[in-house]
């Protein structure tokens, strides 16, 4: 590609150039017809790609001028359904609520959709291979009764797409891809608009919003709650009246006018509660009554229940190192393989599990450094192949390093040759969010390498079996006994002695959170091998732990 064309396209698409270079390119564009033609060809195609890969928006001003939308503002449901159908063919839902609230709700909903919904083409034009727009996953159900027009009943572990979800009774706890935990108490109509916005037409919701997801918004007919990093509850009646209480942190509650603009707002701090009445336009302080709101879900990680033969199955394959996390003494987790080094706990890594049952390593939320590091080194035989196997349970959708191998020869630099991690939501990722990532990098470094991503997402509070391995120049990733994907590694026969880190990308507090990617959750049965594993062995190991495939029931 002609460097001049590349620079011009880069500047045209939002990049910067210095003044002299701009002048040079403009001059070439004026005098060189072939260059001009090539540039136009590229920009036209780029424009088409952008338009065709994004949703055609609702043009409200145009619709108002042409009088198209007046009849559809009679009910919120009609408008909501039309917009949702435009986006992804959501089935029709029965009309609810008095009409005097409908226009208000419609406007709120529409504004939210226009502002916040990802811009996508209608589903009918999306290629068949495109996956639905998932934004959350169900992590816990308590006597939940769904009421879906298509008869679907999401279970624990089910991903939920953008759209309307009705809960007739019981409670459902969801984790959105941005880490927000949302508990919904039925009867509730909840419309997932995007990963950062939900519309609650009626029902009780309670949101726990982690750092980084601030600004998460729950909309209701005529009102809205914007989070400032907190935990809050919102009860929405069918009439549109709502009550909000802050359990921790701070929120801004607002009443909205018929156009969906903020009419009045109020900041609420911890233990404050208000009545929101869109009818009278009033926000009124009330005595906080926590028991009137949806209860906080007790998310207790389940134990990893293994078949008793599991450890022997692993030992039979003669791993180079095998850490079971059954005992801890002086901050050391012993290696099951004789004469091989233990893992040393840095920070408050602990053990969990009742006496006599399987234990696991716990990485609890903390602000201090927390990871496991192996004393000594392991030299993975990269030319012939090696494997890393473990069980992991994450408490969050969050980019977190599980296993890192860094070159000893490059220390104190922490140059990776291997990384196994789970991903969270990132707007610049090319793959779907919340996948498992295996990175092989040679020579050791801080950038580059070859990636393999899982086809399926992981689910918080669920144990997953992971194997990342290299077979000569082939990289393979397995999740829960199933082959996910493979890639060809950069050709090289070399290897080096490595430091093995668990639960963190890099050590040292000087790095920011994205550079250390601390893991929060539980890990167990870590084994590293000087050879790759067979698909049958991987499948077998997973099956020996299938008793654990349930979501938290307070078993540990």
């Amino acid at each position: 590609m002609d460097p001049d064309l590349r620079d011009l396209l880069s500047a045209w698409r939002g990049g910067d150039l210095d003044e002299a270079r701009c002048a040079e390119l403009l001059e070439k564009l004026r005098r060189d017809e072939a260059f001009r033609r090539a540039f136009i060809e590229e920009t036209r195609l780029l424009g088409m790609l952008k338009a065709v890969q994004s949703t055609q928006p609702r043009w409200l001003v145009l619709e108002d001028e042409l009088g198209w939308s007046a009849d559809e503002r009679m009910t919120s449901t009609a408008l909501e359904q039309r917009v949702m159908q435009h986006i992804q063919n959501v089935p029709q839902a029965p009309k609810i609520g008095p009409w005097k609230w409908a226009a208000l709700a419609a406007a709120v909903f529409l504004i939210a959709l226009l502002v916040f919904l990802p811009r996508r083409r209608p589903q009918e034009t999306v290629p068949p291979s495109a996956s639905p727009d998932y934004v959350a996953v169900v992590v816990r159900l308590d006597r939940a009764q769904w009421e879906a027009p298509d008869g679907s009943h999401p279970s624990e572990g089910s991903p939920l797409p953008i759209g309307l979800h009705r809960l007739r009774a019981g409670r459902a706890t969801l984790t959105l891809f941005n880490g927000v935990m949302l508990s919904v108490q039925g009867p509730a109509d909840l419309n997932l608009l995007s990963v950062g916005r939900v519309f609650c037409r009626q029902g009780k919701v309670r949101a726990r919003v982690p750092t980084g997801a601030d600004g998460f918004t729950v909309l209701a007919p005529g009102s809205a709650v914007v989070d400032f990093g907190t935990e809050f509850g919102l009860n929405v009646a069918a009439s549109g009246k709502a009550q909000c209480m802050v359990f921790q942190g701070k929120v801004e509650v607002s009443l909205l006018n018929a156009e969906g603009h903020m009419l009045r707002s109020q900041l609420l701090s911890e233990k404050m509660a208000v009545d929101l009445d869109p009818g009278t336009g009033r926000i009124q302080d009330i005595a906080p009554q926590p028991d009137q709101f949806a209860a906080a879900p007790e998310m207790i990680p389940p134990a990893l229940v293994l078949d008793p033969s599991y450890p022997d199955e692993i030992r039979k394959l003669r791993p180079w190192g095998y850490w079971r996390f059954e005992t801890q003494a002086d901050g050391l987790f012993p290696n099951e393989v004789p004469d091989r080094p233990p893992l040393r706990a840095i920070g408050p890594v602990s053990l969990a599990g009742p006496p006599g049952d399987n234990h696991s390593a716990v990485f609890a939320p903390t602000k201090v450094e927390q990871y496991l590091a192996m004393d000594g080194s392991w030299t993975p035989p990269r030319p012939t192949g090696y494997a890393v196997e473990l069980w992991a349970l994450s408490e969050k959708f969050k980019t977190s390093a599980l296993i890192s191998l860094t070159s000893r020869a490059d220390e104190p630099n922490q140059n990776h040759i291997f990384l196994l991690e789970i991903n969270g939501l990132s707007h610049h990722l090319l793959h779907n969010p919340c996948l498992v990532r295996f990175l092989d990098r040679w020579p050791p470094g801080q950038a580059g390498g070859v990636n393999v991503f899982s086809q399926r997402m992981y689910v918080p509070y669920r144990w997953h079996h992971l194997v990342a391995q290299k077979i000569q120049d082939r990289l393979e990733l397995y999740l829960d006994g199933e082959f996910q994907d493979a890639a060809r590694a950069d050709p090289d026969e070399a290897t080096t002695a490595c430091r093995l880190l668990v639960g963190r990308l890099k050590t040292d507090l000087q790095f920011n959170i994205s550079q250390i990617r601390p893991f929060i959750g539980r890990l167990d049965e870590l084994a590293v091998y000087d050879r790759p594993l067979s698909p049958e062995a991987i499948r077998r190991h997973y099956e020996l732990g299938t008793a654990s495939r349930s979501i938290p029931q307070g078993t540990k």
């Binding site: 590609m1 500047a11 939002g14 060809e41 890969q53 009088g67 610049h428």
Partner: protein, 185 residues
């Protein structure tokens, strides 16, 4: 695209008070118009805001449209005016790069208009099928886009350089053009 007789009929209907008839125009020209605008400004929100302004202006000035003329060209003429107004607004408040982009737009205006005259909704929609046929890496780059900081992020994720991302997109565009040719033959 609509035939001149269809456009004439819509103009008549709108003149008689049937504003809903304009919907056909929005449907038929939305994608080519948004593509045209998106080929010149990178922010998608700006693209869609301007597209709405263009349709509004077209609706309000429909009586001035000369029957038999190319309606798409007329629409793009309005779009150009909106684009220049947009650049004037942003270059006053923003940076020299916006002024540079406006200057580039002036230089390529005639050639771009000539090329865009051939753009049809069906052509643009066929791109979706062609994207699907690209090799995985190229598909990722195409879906990632080339605006603003995206090339740098793509480069990081794909473990390559920003220049390589542009080269990959360039290669992808060549394949897409060849695919479009086949699709539309």
């Amino acid at each position: 695209m609509l035939e001149p007789s269809e456009i004439a009929s819509i103009v008549d209907e709108v003149a008689q008070g049937n504003r809903d008839a304009f919907r056909q125009i929005v449907r038929a020209y939305s994608l080519p118009l948004r593509s045209y605008l998106a080929s010149q400004i990178h922010n998608l929100d700006d693209v869609d805001d301007l597209a709405q302004e263009v349709f509004l202006a077209a609706f309000r000035n429909l009586p001035t449209f000369r029957r038999g003329d190319d309606f798409g060209a007329w629409l793009r003429g309005i779009a150009r005016n909106k684009l220049y107004a947009h650049w004037r607004r942003t270059s006053r408040h923003k940076r020299a790069m916006e002024a540079f982009r406006e200057e580039v737009a002036h230089v390529v205006e005639a050639d771009l208009e000539h090329a865009a005259a051939a753009d049809r909704s069906e052509t643009i929609e066929a791109l979706l099928r062609c994207i699907d046929k690209l090799p995985e890496k190229l598909r990722r780059v195409v879906r990632g886009g080339l605006d603003g900081e995206k090339p740098a992020l793509l480069a990081e994720i794909l473990a390559t350089s920003v220049g390589a991302i542009y080269n990959l997109h360039y290669r992808a565009n060549q394949l897409l053009r060849a695919c479009l040719q086949k699709e539309l033959d």
